[in-house]
Structure formats: C-alpha cells, structure tokens
C-alpha cells in the first residue's frame, strides 16, 4: 500500500528559513494543533449548537499536543488506533477536514458514509482503525495488528491511544499483557487528563500514575508533560524506536487536562474552577506560539497568517460538508457482509 503523504502546512514550511531544524518542526506542530483546535471548536461550539451535528461530540481541547506529536512520529505505514480525542491523527494522515465535518453530519462525504458518527472513523488504506465505543477495546486489537506486522516481517509498528479511565478496563490489561508476552511492536499512548467523564483519577485508580502499571507487564514507561508538544515528540520517538527494534510495547503517559466537558452536552460543573485556570495557562498552542516567538522562529504576523489560513480552510470544508448528501435509505443494508445479504432484511 502506498504511503500516505500528510498535508503540508505550506505557510509554516516556507517561512522557516530559520536554520534551527526545530523551527520547521514547530510550524508543522502548530499547523496541526491549530487545525485540530479549529475543526473541533467548529464542531463543538458551532455546528453542534446549531443542531447541524447530532449524537455525541467529544473533543480534545487542551490535549492536542498528544495526537499531534505522536502522529508526527508515526511513519506513514505504521498503524494508528486513535481514541476519541485524537483528531490530529486523522489530519496528519491526510484526512481532509471536509471528510471530518461530513462524518459528523452523517453525510456520504464522511469516512463511514453515515453508517457511524463522530470519532468512530477509520480507513484501512490510511492504516487508521476506527474505535468502537467500549473504552480500551482497541488495545487487544492493536496487539493483534502488531502481531500481524511482526508475522509479516515488517518494520512497521502500531500506535494505540487511550485515556486514564480506559486503563481500568479488562481489555486494557489483557491486550497489553498479550503484547508484552509476545513482544509486539506497540506504542501505548495514554492521555491522562485526570478525568473520565465526571470521574477523577482518585476514583479510577489507586496508583499515582498510569505508568505505575508498566512493571506488571515488564515494559518500559515514561511520563511526559502532555501539553509540551516537543517533549511528547521526544518521548514518543523513544517509544517508537523501542517498538521498532522488536523490544515490545512501551508506554508513554502524557499528563494533561480536558479543557472542556466530557462531551458537548456536559458543562463539567464537577471540575474545580482553579483547574480550568491553572491548565488554561498551560495551553499547548499558546505555549508553542510563545516558544516560536521567543526563539525567533516566527513573527506574530506569521502566526496570525497560519491561523487565518486554517480558519478559511475550515470555513470551506464546512460548506463542502453541508453540501454533501445524506446516504440513500437503501444503503442501510449495504456491507453487513461481503456478499449482499438476503436473510433477515425484508
């Protein structure tokens, strides 16, 4: 299968005449951070409230650095198992915002043609596996994908994403244990945003860090600032190198915070105010922008340009998606099985 070329952030790249190699990387990070933020803001704060998007809406506001940094580490033939706050992974793999909006609106322009909604999207050609709702169900499946890559003698690896709450599921334990015993090439990326819906860590686990569980699987783990895109990039690169070297799974725990409700209908009154303020100051985008200005990688004008270009790309994508038709009712019966189904449908 041909490798998938990520969308280039043109502005960013062209502007980094700066010799520091991190300058260009920073612009790439910024592009995807802002694109994810803009796409999800549009979904959660506009289209959902306008009633143009139905069903559950979960966004990764404040956590964007995790999928952005991880997605930039993954090679095009690596297999991704995003969770429900990892939008950037799709963007980096070249899924167009048009397709994403169409997906959320249940149009045929979406990745599932309306069969499923929101983050439940995948594309086997892009090597992105769609989650099911059950938290952590992807973990054993990711182990199996890794087993297949090893079976075929490939050097590709698997990235599987999950939250702190998902680690309480039996599937999380079984999947990681199997991957560890079989030394499968899996990078485990935990977004520890300290809440699972309304449930704080103290009611989720009795250990301090998700990483404390790694010893039970004989695997290495590291904890990283989940709002520092460069730091995550470093950690995930170490994890990927470990997995690619055939040394088995490797856990990266990203400490972050969910800067919104669990889903679009959740005001999250259960979150103490001070946490919003505290973590608001740690916003990964503001942080990166400041860094870029401080290091002289970009001018305020550059940053504004990136933002405005993204905004117009997203405007266009929403328009496109709204024009994408709904599926025909007849499609209801398509693709239950490989061959058209005759039984149980009249």
């Amino acid at each position: 299968m041909a490798a998938v070329k990520p969308i280039e952030p043109p502005i960013g790249v062209e502007l980094s005449s700066n010799p520091d190699p991190n300058a260009e990387l920073a612009f790439r990070f910024l592009h995807y951070l802002l694109m994810m933020r803009e796409v999800e803001d549009r979904i959660e704060r506009k289209l959902y409230r306008q009633g143009k998007i139905l069903g559950g809406v979960y966004v990764g506001r404040g956590q964007e650095a995790i999928p952005v940094a991880s997605g930039m580490v993954a090679e095009p033939d690596d297999v991704l198992f995003p969770s429900h706050r990892d939008m950037a992974l799709y963007l980096i793999r070249g899924v167009h915002p048009r397709q994403i909006f169409a997906q959320y609106m249940g149009r045929i322009g979406g990745l599932t043609r309306g069969k499923d909604g929101n983050m439940h999207m995948g594309d086997i050609k892009l090597k992105i596996v769609a989650i099911i709702s059950a938290m952590a169900a992807s973990v054993p499946v990711a182990a199996g994908a890794a087993l297949a890559l090893k079976y075929k003698g490939k050097k590709d690896i698997v990235f599987v994403f999950f939250g702190d709450g998902a680690t309480s599921r039996g599937d999380w334990h079984e999947g990681i244990n199997l991957a560890a015993v079989q030394r499968l090439p899996v990078v485990l990326i935990c977004n520890n945003n300290q809440y699972a819906y309304s449930t704080p860590l103290s009611k989720q686990m009795a250990c301090e860090n998700v990483a404390d569980r790694a010893s039970g699987y004989g695997m290495p783990a590291e904890i990283v600032d989940g709002n520092d895109v460069f730091a995550i990039h470093e950690s995930v690169r170490r994890a990927a190198a470990h997995a690619r070297a055939g040394l088995g799974p490797y856990l990266v725990e990203c400490k972050t915070f969910r800067m919104t409700g669990h889903s679009a209908h959740d005001p999250a009154n259960y979150v103490p105010k001070h946490l919003w303020e505290e973590w608001g100051r740690k916003d990964p985008i503001l942080r990166l922008e400041k860094q870029m200005l401080d290091k002289g990688w970009a001018s305020q004008g550059d940053l504004d340009r990136v933002r405005s270009d993204i905004r117009s790309e997203v405007d266009e994508a929403v328009e496109w998606a709204e024009k994408s038709p709904y599926p025909e009712p007849s499609e209801l019966l398509d693709n239950v099985y490989e061959k058209p189904q005759t039984d149980g449908v009249e």
Binding site: A166, S198, L332
Partner: protein, 323 residues
C-alpha cells in the same frame, strides 16, 4: 402526579433506597454527575457515598461486585452507562449471576439497569436493544417497561426480587413519555404482560418504545375499522405466555413488533409459542415486524429506515386483516 418515564425510574430507586438500607447503587458517573442520563441525580447528596458507589470504567467489575454484594445480602442496583456496554459484563451476568441459585442455592438479588434503544442518533454503540442476549439465560429476568407507571412499579419489583434482573430502560422514552403515577406506593409484578389497548381483530404483541408505534398505528387503523389489541409484554423473560395466547385466541391474528433486529429477536420466540400453542386459533400467518439484521446506523435517514415505523405496522396490519 404526572412524571416522565425517567423520573418514574428515579423515584422508584429513591423510594426503595429509603425503604431498605441494604439497597445501594453502583456504576460509572452516577454520583456527583447523577448518571449519564441523570437517573440517579441527587442521590449522592441524599444518600451519601456509602450507598452511591462511583466506579472505574469496569463493567465486568460492576456486575461482579454487584453479585458479590448481593451474595452477602445487599441489593445492588447497578447502572450500565449505555446498554451497549453490558457486553463487557456478559460473562459475569450469564455465567455467575444467573447460575448461583441453581448450582448451590445462593440468591443473587441484584438489578442491572441498562439504557437501551435507538432513535437518538447514537449510532451502532449507543442504540442497541440487547434484551434477546439475556432472554435466553435461565436464572435471569429481563424487564422492558414502556410506561412511566410500569417503569416505576417494575424497578421497585426488580429491586425487591430475589433473583438477578436486567432492567432495560428505553432512552427514547426517558423524557418523551410522561404518565400519571399514584402518590401512594405501588409495584408492578415482574413476569406479567398488560393489555395496553383492547381490540378484537389483530393482536400486536410488543414492548418498550414500540408500544407507542403500535398505538399510533392502531389509532389510524381504527379509522378504517380495524381493531388492534396491543399486548405490552413488560417482561420479556420469563415470558407471560398465557397473556399472549389469550389475546391471540381472542383475535386469532398476531403481529410481533420490536425495535430490536428480526433474527433471534424476542419476537421469534413468541411467534413460535403462538404457532405451537394457538395454532388452531390462527386465521393468518404470524407476522413479525422488527428492525432488519444490520447494526444500528448513525445517519438520520438510515436510522429512520432501520427503525420499525407506524406506516410499516399499518401496512402489515391491513394485509393481515384482509388475509
């Protein structure tokens, strides 16, 4: 007093917790958040952390812990955040909870509440109707209320029952359906169907949200002089076979209607009972109306085509009437 289906369930649990100190609730986000659908709203404040147990995301442990607490004499009321996740607790429910009494005489008085059903654009994992997966497990009881009155009366009976009960609450009814319930306390017996509407020409045997689809179809058909009797099963396992057969013997024509998919659905079991035990009374084929054998699709036009509809019921009823 008129209350919603949701409020009726909430009151039922609340009253049982007031009445019996051994009743407690356990599940995900049921405490400070009051549950994903707010069925347990206010219970943490009123009853405290001891009796409102917020758990990690561990459906199997929620079910297992409920079994253990029930074995020790408590009466847990567990919540699955969505019925679809009950699959994660399947082994505990069908192998542990269901079989304790039969194997070694140990009672497991527990309730598992599961918000089920579609029509809410929930997609494949927030819309399923899992009742048939449990209506095949001796030792369990499977309850599927359609009205506010029954919802309250049945949740109270379920909590008092000394056997494990899976209680399916239809999400589409939570706030849409209201009903008058008495101020004084009452219960509704598990295992008894009710005649939701009397009629003479055709028996429509159904439960849950489809009771209202049957009702709307019956209203239309009445204008054509077709008299529909609606039997609301209320409990789908064990079955109230007598009630079903009585209605069919009266009308001699039967339609099984459910929102769950056709193949392997509860309707098949009931149609089979009719075809075996009321055969001589039948004046026409036993008709089934159900969702097609597909996952529940997300996009509105697809979901609309998926769900059994009033026109579909009218069409089939006309056909059967003229048979």
């Amino acid at each position: 007093m008129e209350v919603t289906y949701l409020e009726a369930i909430r009151q039922g649990i609340w009253e049982e917790m007031e009445r019996d100190p051994d009743v407690f609730i356990i599940g995900e986000d049921i405490g400070v958040y009051g549950g994903a659908f707010k069925v347990t709203a206010g219970m943490l404040d009123h009853f405290g952390e001891r009796r409102v147990v917020d758990t990690p995301i561990s459906e199997s442990a929620i079910a297992g812990a409920s079994i253990g607490a029930a074995l020790m004499g408590l009466r847990p009321v567990a919540e699955m955040q969505f019925a679809d996740f009950i699959t994660c607790a399947y082994d505990q429910l069908v192998n542990f909870a269901a079989k304790c009494r039969y194997r070694w005489g140990a009672a497991v008085p527990m309730v598992v509440r599961a918000p089920s059903g579609g029509g809410t654009h929930g997609g494949p994992f927030h819309s399923q109707n899992p009742e048939a997966w449990f209506a095949h497990v001796p030792g369990l009881k499977v309850v599927t209320p359609a009205t506010a009155y029954d919802a309250k009366g049945l949740i109270k009976s379920a909590i008092r029952d000394n056997d494990p009960v899976i209680f399916f609450e239809h999400k589409g009814l939570y706030r849409r359906i209201k009903g008058n319930i008495p101020d004084e306390e009452y219960t509704v017996p598990i295992g008894k169907a009710s005649v939701f509407r009397e009629g003479t020409d055709i028996s429509v045997i159904t439960y849950g949200a489809m009771v209202y689809v049957a009702r709307d179809a019956a209203d239309e058909l009445a204008k054509e002089g077709i008299s529909i009797e609606i039997v609301d099963l209320r409990t789908v396992f064990p079955l109230d076979e007598a009630a079903v057969l009585a209605s069919v013997r009266k009308t001699s024509k039967a339609i099984l209607l459910h929102e769950d998919i056709l193949s392997g659905g509860v309707g098949g079991e009931i149609a089979a009972r009719i075809a075996e035990k009321a055969f001589d009374h039948l004046d026409g084929p036993v008709v089934r109306i159900a969702a097609p054998d597909t996952p529940v699709p997300f996009s509105p036009p697809l979901e609309q085509a998926f769900l059994p509809s009033v026109p579909k019921v009218i069409e089939k009823a006309r056909w059967l009437y003229n048979y």
